[in-house]
């Protein structure tokens, strides 16, 4: 595989992974659950 194509694939994979995790944070159930746990510390 040519280097530029490989590079684009690496970046696309990284961007997809980051987007997937960010979406996980924004899931309404996760936000409320996480917020409750974080808030419990204070």
């Amino acid at each position: 595989m040519k280097a530029p194509v490989q590079r684009v694939l690496w970046w696309a994979t990284a961007a997809a992974a980051l987007a997937a995790v960010f979406v996980a944070y924004l899931n309404p159930h996760t936000v409320v659950d996480l917020a409750t746990r974080v808030w419990a510390c204070f």
Binding site: V21, F22, W39
Partner: protein, 410 residues
Amino acid sequence: MNAASMPARPTQTPLSMRQVLICGAAIVTLSMGIRHGFGLWLAPITMDRGWTRETFAFALAIQNLAWGLAGPFAGMLADRFGAYRVLLVGAVLYGLGLVSMGLASSGLAFMGGAGVLLGMAQSGTTYAVVYGVIARQVVPEKRSWAMGVTAAAGSFGQFLMVPVENGLIAGIGWQNALFVLACGALIIMPLAIGLKEPKPAADSGPKQSVAAALGEAFSYPSFGLLMAGYFVCGFQVVFIGVHMPSYLKDHGLSPQVATIALALIGLFNVFGTYTAGSLGQRLPKRYILSTIYALRAVAITVFISAPLTPWSVYIFAAVMGFLWLSTVPPTNAIVAQIFGVRYMSMLGGVVFLSHQVGSFLGVWLGGKLYDATGSYDMVWWIAVALGIVAALVNLPVRETAIQRAALKPA
């Protein structure tokens, strides 16, 4: 510059850069990620065991101090016996620490497991040890970039593991979640084999004893300046990480704002660490560090001066996230550049100790001054002042290799 003081270039590179990066990045993703969500266990553990929050918080404070104090020793052992051996022991300690965190039925046992064991485990599985291998196996021209990639992986681990750990606690209970993570920590062991160097670090660079290397570093002004900067990094990051939710709560913002801010810090931290490492290949790293600290001071000033709204919090979280661990690649790359790679892990551990002292003070002073004054204002301004100091002290750092006229190459 004489031959002995030339930046050490690997004389043989049997470990491919891809192998070093994949294994190193995966190790740091696990080690930095697992520890990042420990705060999520506060409520379930203290309620289940009937402990006070202080018991839990004290164990985590001990963990951070143990991480810092054990760092130079873990680094020394990694430089002497090979990073992969230290990583293997670190992975076992990580697993044991998590299991004992789940089983501890007394505050003292919890402090031993979650505090001492996990702190030691982190010192053996995080940046200082992995960076030693990167510094020795990756050519100097790509070293800062490679450190940036690894730091970005650690940042990704932190970003990833919070929702994962939250889901584990909700799905299988806090105790089983810790046991699952203990198994996850053991994945570091096969990955460590990928960082097994064919040539000991002791053969990289000039002959020098541990004491001589430490004496040389401490008598070199730039090393002290880097330590001072890293101290500020630890102070700011941990103060904000620990006390910001409380600050937002005091100002009437909803818990969801704090959660999204946490996500934004994690997301932008990945970009920031990678960018800092990449820029380190093209620009003087002392200027990168100065800029990071100056921007932090500006960001905090604007944040605390402007009206507090969810959007001001999100913008601040994104900016601070970008600057969060971006100091890690340039600081470590300068250490390698000045002193060579033979004692890279040990010296990286020493610099990191300064970071942890700053972290400890950031958490403690944040609480202390809040109790004394009823607000976080004073600590925010201390963070601004320290940012300015760190921006200034990094400017005169000399990045060139140290002169060692009397030393023989190994």
